[in-house]
């Protein structure tokens, strides 16, 4: 750690971990409901559990991204954050919005629009919160001694993510128009600007962990984010095939979303090649695992599994089935959850001064959570494919099909248990590092 204000990041990361545990808990509630154990139905019906599960994901990832920015930007800009106090105010307001939304979902207070369930009144608080965050980051960046490509890409990602929240707040009378612009937020976030954030964090980590020249890494960063937008913006069309808009999206969405895996492939090749090229042997092996893991798993989850159902001919049958859940789980895990866990694993020893670089608990956490998540993805995939055939080819009734595929949810729960053990171990490692301290300040080393 080179600047005292970087310590703020710790509390954003800690908040992330807390929400991750809650997210998993609600995932289990849904998994059990699917195999008939729905004892909580009266208090937490499926739609509540679902809204909490996905929204907690978004908030813990955003909190992780914000923590990452508070850690990375001072180091890249070579100065302290402009205000540590305001950063804490921002964290508290983020927590207030998050907690209020989650509690509200239990009392039918929501918008009922997939992924954007946060009620309108709280939306305005989100805007204030994000503006405060961006203000702090931008002020630090522009007052800083240098503006690196890594910092610019990361900041650009965060800025665009904030701007893209706005189309989701526009009211429409038509369900079709509503859905169309909802994807401007959701798709352009996860298959657009969030990849800038991921790319920025990845580039920072690779510079630190591999020691490869910044100019080389940042050049490829531009190529990757270039590929992301080139395919991802028009790739939004894959959400528009069958929601009641023009057929032109079948062609445009089909072609460009088929190119989307290229950005993730480039990201994976980039990370692995930089690692091979690097001569620096950074002692933080766990951070390296998560960094390379994120680049590779995101290619499989977001790239390949996305491609598996993105062509209109396939999507005609898979649209609105569990096949989507299969892709969603490994994509979010690989691309965004793992990159947040990577930056936490990297930053934690530097902020706390406890160099637990290569613990067996840390390694086990990586393998168990990844194997668990891959198992979950397979379970969702098998259930989804079976659903497609039974329901859409053999024309069986929805609930009959659900009964047929419920066994796959038993497998899902078993794999989710393995995944959860991995995450608990990760958090144990997190806690073992202790609190951040000024004594961890280290101006000399380049770790």
């Amino acid at each position: 750690m080179k600047y005292k204000s970087q310590k703020v990041a710790y509390w954003f990361f800690a908040f992330s971990m807390l929400l991750l545990v809650l997210q998993i808990t609600y995932g289990f509630i849904m998994g059990f409901a699917r195999i008939g154990f729905d004892g909580l139905h009266e208090f937490i019906p499926f739609n509540t559990a679902r809204a909490v599960h996905t929204n907690l994901l978004v908030v813990w990832l955003l909190s992780g991204f914000m923590g990452a920015a508070y850690y990375i930007i001072p180091e890249e800009a070579q100065r302290e954050l402009v205000s540590v106090k305001l950063a804490y105010v921002q964290l508290i307001s983020l927590a207030v919005v998050g907690v209020a939304a989650v509690i509200g979902y239990h009392f039918n207070w929501w918008e009922g629009r997939k992924f954007l369930e946060i009620p309108r009144q709280l939306d305005y608080l989100v805007v204030v919160n994000v503006l405060l965050f961006l203000g702090l980051i931008l002020a630090t960046l522009f007052k800083g001694k240098r503006k690196t490509t890594t910092a610019l890409v990361l900041t650009m990602g965060l800025l665009f993510a904030a701007l893209l929240y706005i189309p989701g707040m526009l009211p429409f009378d038509s369900q079709v128009t509503d859905s169309f612009f909802r994807w401007w937020v959701v798709h352009l976030w996860v298959e657009g600007v969030w990849e800038l954030i991921m790319g920025g964090i990845l580039s920072f980590l690779l510079i630190k962990l591999t020691g490869v020249d910044r100019e080389v890494i940042e050049k490829w960063l531009y190529v990757i984010v270039g590929l992301t937008f080139l395919s991802g913006i028009l790739g939004t069309g894959h959400h528009y095939y069958y929601i009641g808009v023009n057929k032109i999206w079948l062609i445009v969405g089909g072609i460009f979303s088929a190119l989307e895996p290229l950005a993730f492939l480039a990201m994976a090749l980039f990370a692995v090649n930089m690692y091979r090229k690097g001569e620096k042997k950074h002692p933080n092996k766990i951070a390296l695992f998560w960094t390379l893991g994120s680049a590779i798993v995101s290619f499989v989850g977001a790239g390949l599994l996305g491609f598996a159902h993105t062509l209109p001919q396939t999507n005609l049958y898979t649209h609105g089935t569990l096949v989507t859940a299969m892709h969603g789980h490994l994509a979010f895990w690989g691309a965004y959850a793992m990159i947040v866990l990577a930056i936490i694993s990297y930053a934690l020893p530097n902020m706390t001064g406890r160099k637990l670089y290569d613990s067996s608990v840390g390694r086990a956490a990586f393998w168990m959570s990844n194997v668990g998540m891959i198992g979950m993805t397979v379970a969702f995939g098998v259930a989804g494919v079976a659903q497609v055939y039974l329901e859409r080819k053999f024309k069986m009734d929805f609930m009959e099909v659900q009964a047929e595929i419920s066994i796959h949810f038993v497998v899902l729960i078993l794999c989710a248990t393995l995944f959860t053990v991995g995450i608990i171990m990760y958090i144990m490692d997190f806690i073992k590092h202790g609190k951040p301290t000024d004594e961890a300040l280290d101006l000399e080393s380049d770790l």
Partner: protein, 149 residues
């Protein structure tokens, strides 16, 4: 070999060009001549139905236009499949609807509210979904074909 400057130009150029095309296609899709939704048919009742749909997060279990949570049936074309009476009974039920053991929240909607939601489903059912309507609701498709014959 590619320089950093060229890489940046690729990023900025590609982004601007694809974004402009995206905006153009969006405007085209929502031009009146391209409407596939019978937009004029969105009455106040349909809008009230949509509001109820959202206020109760129906998408948190069901899917509509193929979008939702895959826990409960797709509701595009539900009126063709089940008939208005059945759907209304589910909506107004004071105890949890419980087909094959999977519970729905007992919303106990009033008759007016149920009518609003029916109007919403009716409008949804008329949308041209580029072929998805026949796949997503095979029973409805069969019924329509039977009626034709």
């Amino acid at each position: 070999m590619l320089s950093k400057k060229q890489a940046r130009a690729f990023f900025l150029g590609g982004t601007v060009v694809t974004f402009l095309i995206f905006i153009g296609l969006t405007i085209f899709s929502f031009s009146k001549s391209q409407d596939q939704t019978n937009h004029e048919g969105i009455t106040e009742q349909v809008v009230r139905g949509k509001v109820l749909w959202e206020e109760n997060n129906c998408m948190g279990c069901h899917t509509i236009l193929g979008e939702g949570a895959y826990y409960a049936p797709e509701l595009t074309k539900v009126l063709d499949r089940r008939g208005e009476g059945y759907v209304k009974a589910v909506l107004m039920s004071p105890i949890p609807w419980n087909p094959n053991g999977r519970k729905m929240v007992a919303y106990g909607f009033t008759k007016e509210e149920a009518d609003d939601l029916i109007a919403f489903f009716d409008w949804i059912g008329g949308i041209d979904l580029n072929g998805f309507d026949t796949v997503v609701s095979p029973l409805a498709k069969d019924k329509i074909e039977r009626n034709k014959n």
